[in-house]
Amino acid sequence: MDVVIEIVNFSAYYGDKQVVRDVSMKIFRNKITAIIGPSGCGKTTLLRSINRMNDHLPGFRVEGKIFFEGQDVYASNLDVTEYRKKVGMVFQKPTPFPMSVYDNVAFGPRIHGIRDKRLLDQIVENALRRAALWDEVKGELHKPATQLSGGQQQRLCIARALAVEPEVLLLDEPTSALDPISTQKIEMLLEELSEYYTIVIVTHNIAQAVRIADYIAFMYRGELIEYGPTRDIIERPKHKLTEEYLTGKIG
């Protein structure tokens, strides 16, 4: 199978504190990979290490390697801004910019040099359609994005990420701030998107991981305890910790 991201003996530290311990895993193309585990186990840190969002945090450093399509992500000659175009990210809290719906989605294409109005219109529409938001906002593209509902804002953030045509979409608990209906919409959306994109999602919600993920990675205290197809992890966990977490004994 086609590997998009390969994580090799990867460790991450905040100062002296090691929060990701020697993790190795392969992330497959056009699959949904869920990272689960108790609070503080290093899920967010690992996810943000993939698109180098932790670089600016004081005291942050890494060991080991992450490869994106064979390219060493932490190589000193990597153009980080160019790389982040290929690896989009959606955060836990919706983060619409204080500008119109249209300008939010057009933000990425614009900073990457697209000026043509018709082309931008097309990109914005496509991205909003893919994010299953077009029908709800097509009449009010120029209203402030902050006036959308929380669920709409989160789908807008997905659309905004899609507008730069990434290959990978990283999502950090994208539904934890949303109501059940918005959550369901986003889950359905992610399943559709996995046809075109490789998706990595961090979630606290085991049921959610089971519903949408093709692969599940279970982390505990910075270590990757178990990783494999969702079925295998759920039905035949090899590790005692995994079983205890899935049955709610730890967490």
Binding site: N51, M53, T81, E82, Y83, R84, K85, G88, M89, F91, K93, T95, F97, P98, M99, F107, G108, R110, I111, H112, T146, C157, R160, A161, V164
Partner: protein, 275 residues
């Protein structure tokens, strides 16, 4: 519990007293001058030793001076604020502390500095330019620290969202942070402008002329302004000219009050929105 209640009553009474005094000042100044308002008061030049006519050149002079001050202070202040907020290091911390202490310097000292530096050393003479530069020096810290504070208050998630789209630091600053901080910056500009409009001492020393029958022809001309006009009348003219000082004071107070209300309104909307 009981002490809290007593204390809160004390605070309430004190704040009412303070508010009443301020209100009284407003009412007295405005009532004292508003009855002299007329078309000719706003549109004409002063005549007959300030006993007749209007304050048109002072209104225009104050307006020009404020615009010129903004042209210098707004870009410089905003850039300084961005620099202080987005490049935190020993050097910017040091600038930050100096800026804060700048706002504690009495305005007459700015005036003396402006006189020595802009008028004399740089040879601008008593001119609108020298006065505007002096006023810019005074408003710049206000704009810079407000810009800095507004930028600092922008959640880190918003910056990260922009970085995650492949934006560079410069793009994040110009396309996300400054637009997001726009209202805060405009508020600071208004507050700074309101202060600059009312400043008297620095303008007296650097750019004011007490009477002018023509409008400033260039930035090197001296200007009449509203506050210095009041000052000159009070100092040099007789009883018959007092009405003009009162009317000018009322007008100045109304303008400043409008500017501050606008600033206050924008600030409240700013806060209302972020929730």
């Amino acid at each position: 519990m009981k002490r809290d209640l007593v204390l809160s009553q004390v605070f309430r009474i004190v704040s009412y007293v303070v508010f009443s005094i301020i209100l009284l000042m407003f009412v007295l100044v405005i009532l004292g001058g508003i009855r002299y308002f007329s078309m000719s008061f706003f549109m004409e030049y002063p005549r007959n030793n300030m006993r007749e006519g209007g304050i048109f050149p002072a209104i225009l002079g104050s307006f020009y001076l404020m615009v010129l001050t903004f042209i210098v202070a707004v870009p410089l202040g905003v850039f300084t604020g961005v620099f202080l907020s987005e490049w935190e290091n020993f050097f910017t911390k040091w600038i930050d502390v100096s800026l804060t202490s700048l706002s504690g310097i009495p305005s007459i000292v700015y005036g003396l500095f402006g006189l020595a530096f802009f008028c004399v050393a740089l040879g601008f003479g008593t001119s609108m330019l020298a006065a505007a530069l002096t006023l810019s020096l005074m408003t710049l810290p206000v704009i810079a620290s407000a810009t800095k504070e507004t930028l600092k208050a922008i959640p880190v998630e918003l910056r990260e969202a922009a970085y995650a789209l492949g934006a560079t630091k410069i793009e994040v600053i110009f396309k996300v942070l400054i637009p997001a901080a726009k209202r805060g910056i405009v508020t600071a500009v208004l507050v700074g402008g309101g202060r600059a409009l009312g400043e008297t001492a620095p303008v007296l020393l650097t750019g004011a002329v007490f009477y002018s029958t023509f409008l400033p022809r260039s930035v090197f001309s001296p200007v009449m302004t509203l506050p210095t006009h009041i000052y000159y009348i009070m100092m040099a003219y007789g009883e018959k000219a007092q009405w003009m000082a009162r009317a000018t004071a009322a007008f100045l107070l109304i303008v400043v009050a409008i500017i501050y209300s606008l600033a206050f309104y924008l600030r409240r909307r700013e806060h209302g929105r972020s929730h």
